[in-house]
């Protein structure tokens, strides 16, 4: 299908827009224009015409509205008329929406948009048939399910596979394969079978009629089980897919999990050691305090005690170091302290006697001082013991502290690795928990599937048994024989068609995959291959099967190829209409994309595609034009005229563009 002409009236900048294409140059059509010259208005006009996209009163051309306001009455209409050509037959599509001006000068719609489709054979100027259901015709020929693949804003094309197009692709493939239609037809065939079966029962008598009803019931039961089985299979497929995705995601976080686990271990060890360290420090503090107190007491008590002892000593009130009993014994036995010299040294005896006298005189004060002195010695011992304990604990504490430092160093080393993944800890937890739940769901589904298979087997046997009884009970009249023959045929058709839709879907999916893969590979010198998964995810892989990283230009190219593939593969040939097709990609990629697209739409390659590009001055350049010139194309541009900035269409390249350096160089012949 190709567009032969477009007329737009009163829509935004397009008050009087007319494009008429020669059949010779309508494969590649450019409607170029600088920003603000009406390209997006034209895209909006197509969307209004094809998909009844809502328009607002403000979408009416300013100049037309001004005229309406000046006259104060009447109505104006936005109209978009297209003439389409499909292999020699023509369709004239016309959608319009009128607006009136109210009493308070506000604009109001006059009714709903109106769509007309007139068919013409061989000559578009002589319409021959007004289609009775124009919306149906449009839905059949330009299904809205394909919207994402033939009418869009190229600015978004590089994100084509990033945003969720899986649903759109699945819908498109289903549309192409016409699964819904096929299922509807099969339902009609089943109803027909049931009708014939019922008729056979009726003509064969009451018993047969009853058996036929039983057969219908058991068939329904079987059919419900098949439907349940499909549902379970779909759920199972979904759950398995989710299981794969989750496993893959968790796999990507495998190292993160390892690092997080080690970090946890380290933290636990650190906590344990820290608690040990605190216990040691606490014990040491106690010892230090004890030693300190003892030392303090010793230091505070030592001086006064010595003083008291000295005074007591001077007054003979401090006990000698010898107990009186021991001294008396020495004196009695004439022995010296050393046990030998006393008898030989009389002064020693008198000395001993003095000591004895002194000991006796010391009295209670000396004894008390002696007790205090002894206690002081004990305190000194305690302080010393505590000090020794502190020294010993200091060694242990040092070891614990060294261990802590070691673990902290390992933890610090781990820190940069944890930096990026710490935020993922919750995610990993969530993924693991979801995976567990999906695993359980799958177990449940598998169990249900097994039970269902058993039920199906029983129900199938029941149908066979009922069928056998019914066949036996039916009459042998010629009508009954004829009906049995028909039923047997239909039964065969129904059984054979079971699961055929899935096969069709698979066939379309694999052909689109093959097309995209071979074209993308051709353009990219075999660097990549494309895979369309069973759930319609479009993957790009390197030759070794690993996922490929694509540049924005490559992504756009793949999206265009995919879009064209959907048409090529299934022989649907509605045009590809894109506003700013090269979006934001750089000059070098634009050139490569232009070259690649021209290869795809080259009519000499057997393509029957029509492509309509609306490009701005950054996209349509001498560098891209040199590729476009390889294909027959129609060059047009939008120019603003008049005080109301109406956009009008002219042939060729906008003369204003020749003031741009590249075009000036091209005109001089500097760019070939």
């Amino acid at each position: 299908m190709k567009i032969l002409s477009v007329s737009v009236r009163n829509f935004r900048l397009l008050r009087n827009f007319d494009l008429v294409l020669d059949t010779a140059d309508n494969d590649l059509v450019f409607i170029n224009g600088s920003n603000g010259h009406g390209k997006t208005s034209l895209l909006g006009a197509f969307q209004f015409c094809f998909f009844d996209q809502a328009i607002r009163p403000e979408d009416f051309s300013d100049a037309s509205l001004e005229e309406l306001r000046l006259t104060g009455r009447g109505e104006i209409s936005v109209t978009v008329k297209l003439v389409l050509n499909q292999e020699g037959d023509f369709a004239l599509v016309n959608r319009s929406q009128a607006v009136v001006i109210g009493d308070d000068s506000t604009l109001e719609f006059s009714g709903r948009p109106i769509l007309d489709v007139t068919l013409a054979f061989q000559d578009p100027s002589t319409p021959s048939e007004v289609h009775p259901d124009p919306e149906f015709w449009l839905a059949q020929n330009l299904p809205s399910r394909f919207k994402s693949f033939f009418l869009f804003d190229g600015e978004l094309m590089y994100k084509f596979f990033d945003v969720s197009v899986k649903g759109a692709i699945e819908q498109a493939v289903k549309e192409i394969a016409q699964i819904d239609l096929f299922e509807e037809i099969l339902d009609s065939v089943r109803s027909h079978r049931n009708l014939l079966s019922s008729r056979l029962g009726k003509i064969s008598g009451t018993d047969a009629e009853k058996l036929e009803k039983a057969l219908a019931t058991s068939r329904e039961a079987l059919s419900r089980l098949v439907s349940n089985g499909r549902q379970i299979a779909e759920q199972q497929e979904g759950a398995e897919k989710r299981q794969r995705e989750l496993t893959k995601q968790l796999e990507a976080h495998k190292d993160a999990g390892k690092f997080l686990a080690r970090n946890k271990e380290l933290q636990e060890s650190l906590d344990r050691l820290d608690s040990q360290r605190r216990a040691f420090e606490e014990a040491m503090n106690k010892e230090i305090l004890q030693a300190g107190v003892a030392s303090f007491l010793v230091s505070r008590a030592d001086y006064p005690l010595k003083k008291h002892i000295k005074e007591a000593d001077e007054r003979g009130k401090y006990p000698a170091n010898f107990k009186p009993e021991a001294l008396e014994k020495l004196i009695q036995e004439d022995e010296c302290i050393c046990g030998r010299h006393l008898s030989e040294s009389p002064p020693a005896k008198s000395n001993l006697e003095r000591l004895l006298e002194r000991s006796k005189n010391a009295g209670p004060l000396g004894a008390q001082l002696q007790i205090v002195h002894d206690s002081l010695l004990v305190s000194r011992g305690v302080a010393q013991k505590s000090s020794d304990s502190v020294v010993a604990n200091t060694g242990l504490l040092r070891e614990v502290r060294a261990d802590i430092l070691k673990l902290k160093a390992e933890k610090d080393k781990l820190e940069p690795k944890l930096e990026g993944i710490r935020g993922n800890a919750d995610l990993i937890q969530k993924l693991s928990s979801e995976l567990k739940s999906v695993d359980n769901e799958l177990l449940d589904l598998k169990a249900r599937s097994t039970r269902l298979a058993e039920d199906y087997s029983k129900a199938e046997s029941q149908v066979k048994a009922d069928q056998k009884k019914f066949d036996k009970a039916t009459s042998n009249s010629s009508e009954a024989v004829d009906l049995r023959r028909k039923l047997s045929f239909l039964e065969g058709v129904i059984q054979e068609s079971d699961g055929f839709s899935e096969k069709v879907l698979e066939g379309v999916r694999s052909r689109v995959e093959e097309f995209v893969s071979s074209h993308f590979s051709k353009v990219k010198q075999g660097k990549f291959k494309t895979q369309i998964t069973e759930d319609f995810e479009v993957l790009t892989l390197n030759q070794d099967g690993s996922p490929a990283e694509l540049s924005e230009g490559q992504k756009m190219l793949k999206a265009y190829i995919f879009s064209i593939a959907l048409r090529e593969v299934v022989g649907l040939s509605f045009p590809l209409i894109v506003d700013t097709p090269f979006g934001r990609i750089d000059e070098r990629n634009r050139e490569a994309l232009a070259e690649a697209l021209c290869q795809l739409i080259d009519p000499t390659s057997g393509s029957s595609q029509q492509v309509i590009f609306m490009m701005h001055d950054g996209e349509y350049t001498p560098y891209t034009k040199k590729h476009f010139d390889q294909v027959k194309s129609s060059e047009n541009y939008l120019e603003l005229i008049g005080p109301g900035n109406e956009s009008t269409l002219k042939r060729g390249i906008d003369p204003a563009w020749f003031e741009l350096t590249a075009w000036a160089d091209w005109k001089k012949g500097a760019i070939k």
Partner: protein
């Protein structure tokens, strides 16, 4: 402007038995203008007739 091509093409290329294939193709073609039980009856009759003749 025929939009049934793909399903018909797939049906023709399928590994369904010839009888089933022919019957379903006729049903898909008949579906273009609405599939009624009487149309299905006619398709069935002609399919069986074709079988007998072949």
């Amino acid at each position: 402007m025929d939009n049934e091509i793909e399903l018909l093409r797939v049906l023709r290329a399928s590994d369904l038995s010839e009888d089933t294939k022919k019957y379903l193709i006729k049903a898909v073609e008949a579906n273009l203008s609405g599939l009624t039980q009487s149309k299905l009856d006619a398709i069935l009759e002609s399919s069986l007739e074709q079988n007998e003749n072949s």
